[in-house]
Symmetry: C2
Subunit: 370 residues, 2 copies
DNA sequence: CTGAAAGCGCTAACAG
DNA sequence: CTGTTAGCGCTTTCAG
């Protein structure tokens, strides 16, 4: 675009043109626009006038080449249309703006190969850093990290990559709080509707330092573990048959929820570990003519907009998507020199109580009623 | 990041390093990586080996400077967290990928000044083009356009800027279809919950060529006009008191909906001109204990995910956000040479009938019932 | 305070 | 097929 030619077909003005027009050297023009050095007010004015006249725009390409950086950062998310990720993107955008950096966005759709391609591209662009909600596992991210790229993970971190800075929601605390709430309401047969690991063999159990691994790592694992631990701590055993995992597609979530609710008419509450799962639970409950919360209580992780529009409105754990993005960007840009951080930054997840959970109904036959 | 130094603190390899390591000239290395010209298989292999060894990544900065383009496009939306816009962004991303271009994203939040800043920044980056859901009006976009920048508008076009290519949803047809559906159901007192123009004095009535202006222009105006026209065509007069406009905030939408439904207990259906408005309508109806669709039918423009989760599920007009983004990007990148297009590309909006609309109830007192 | 000159990493003629 | 050369637009010593 502008780089090529203006409306008249002429190439856009360069620093040289401006210098000539203002009758100064190019160094002076550079000083005026880059803020470096000092120029006399008079000269400055003359240069600016000339620039205005020629509609001169400094080229980030030229500057970047010289400075060896582009002034932009890369952001990789699985999918922009997921409301939580959209929030995260908005957070990054907001923060990047304060640093005067632009952001190159791309979606990896959970595909490690695609993610790797994107990273390559970003490195070629010489971005000042990369923020990623990673899909690939350790190996995939060792490369860019080793190359000296500054990367910050957001929302999740590949197992075994704890040395890389990250900003995560405190899912463990969130799920614990939610579980305690449910148990406090009197529920014992709580179903946990979780997500299965995406990559085929990627999310191996993860060795990791005990006491830390339970707070970071794949969110799906963290949440399930938090659920189990809390139930155990509360003296409520968890029925393995009630812990199910779905893949990340809507269909899979729906099937899992339907299977669960039909098979076990005795569950009194379902804790969905994500908004897609929650959506499935709501839909299935409706299909099965189960009243919420009279027949089943439903709660989920992720406080998406529709939670409030549901009837009844859904109780959720709100994860701070915007803040996660903002902090991740801050970590990348502000603390780019000192790599002092040890362990991921954990942002609080808040329990939002609405109307979808109540005390369990006295009893119900194991088979689907009617 | 990579541009600076690798893990060892050394600067990253350049084409020169690779050339030296492979014992060839830099031009040969360039040929290997840019695909231009031809190199003997043997040499090519040697170069690639050297590059691999040095972990060489061609710098887009250098290439860009030479080629006078960055290989990326700019995308400006009002807000990434709006589901419709998120779809649009996803569409652009998908298309850009096929062209091997990256996309620089930013949100203008409806602020023309901010939008102008973003455009400036994009021009400095020498993007190959800009796709925008514009906030500013004519004047603001004359500059970048005049500068020779290729821009394509998506979702809406500033009044008076018809010469710039654009991709829009056929809102006119969408609203017409929806209105006809409502009238066909027997509704006569249909409320139109619309959006007020964002910019203070920006959206002036717009002179424009008749017969065209009714399909493009600010969506809010297009939709309202489509509603009025359709009602008129159907012989159903529109009650001016039932046409209300809210600002783009949730609060405003809620207030407008509440005011409307309380003031006019006799409306039998409300047509919300956007998902925020629809959300407000649903919430207000619930608050007022109005059954949907028994007491009021509700329908809205924008088929956001929650429409299906509502109880009852909401009837909507689905606007193809993803396609709009995709096509806009295609228009920008594929047809960048020939500027043959005349008038905006209109993509169909589809009526999605769910359960929120039914025949009007026989009668109801003007005052709020209980 | 200001100008001249030397590149930043890469591509594109132009010769061999 | 391959090397040499001349910049692309900008920042930055280094003199003046």
């Amino acid at each position: 675009m502008a780089a090529e030619r203006d409306a008249g077909g002429r190439r856009s003005a360069t620093i040289k043109d401006v210098a000539a027009a203002a009758g100064v050297g190019i160094a002076t023009v550079s000083r005026v626009f880059s803020g470096t050095g000092s120029v006399s007010p008079a000269t400055r004015e003359r240069v600016q006038a000339a620039a205005r006249e020629l509609d001169y725009r400094p080229s980030a390409l030229g500057r970047g080449l010289k400075l060896r950086r582009s002034g932009g950062i890369g952001l990789i998310v699985p999918d922009v249309t997921d409301p939580f990720r959209a929030d995260l993107v908005a957070g990054v955008l907001a923060c990047a703006r304060t640093f005067g950096e632009h952001v190159i966005l791309d979606a990896a759709h959970g595909d490690p190969a695609r993610e790797a391609e994107i990273v390559d591209r970003l490195v070629e662009q010489r971005v000042d850093g990369i923020i990623a909600v990673p899909a690939g596992t350790e190996a995939a991210w060792r490369a860019p990290a080793g190359i000296g790229a500054s990367v910050v993970f957001a929302d999740r971190v590949p197992p075994g990559l704890r040395e890389i800075p990250a900003v995560l929601a405190d899912d463990r605390a969130g799920v614990r709080t939610l579980t305690e709430y449910l148990v406090g309401l009197g529920h014992r047969r709580i179903a946990f509707l979780g997500a299965a690991p995406a990559s085929p063999g990627g999310d191996r159990p993860a060795p990791a330092a005990p006491g830390e691994e339970d707070r970071a790592g794949p969110p799906a694992q963290v949440r399930e573990r938090a659920f189990r631990d809390t139930m155990a701590a509360l003296g409520a055993g968890v029925d393995e048959d009630l812990v199910v995992a779905a893949r990340h597609e809507r269909d899979s979530a729906f099937a899992a929820a339907a299977g669960l609710l039909q098979r076990r008419g005795d569950v009194t509450a379902v804790l969905a570990a994500g908004h897609l799962l929650g959506e499935a639970a709501v839909l299935v409950a409706r299909e099965l003519d189960l009243r919420v919360p009279a027949d089943v209580s439903i709660a989920m992780v992720d406080d998406v907009p529709w939670a409030e529009l549901c009837d009844p409105p859904l109780t959720t754990v709100a994860r701070p998507g915007h803040d996660i993005g903002y902090r991740a960007c801050e970590l990348l840009l502000r603390d780019r020199t000192r790599r002092t951080r040890r362990g991921p930054v954990l942002l609080p997840a808040e329990l939002v109580i609405r109307g979808s959970c109540g005390p369990p109904r006295p009893a119900r036959s194991p088979a689907r009623p009617a």
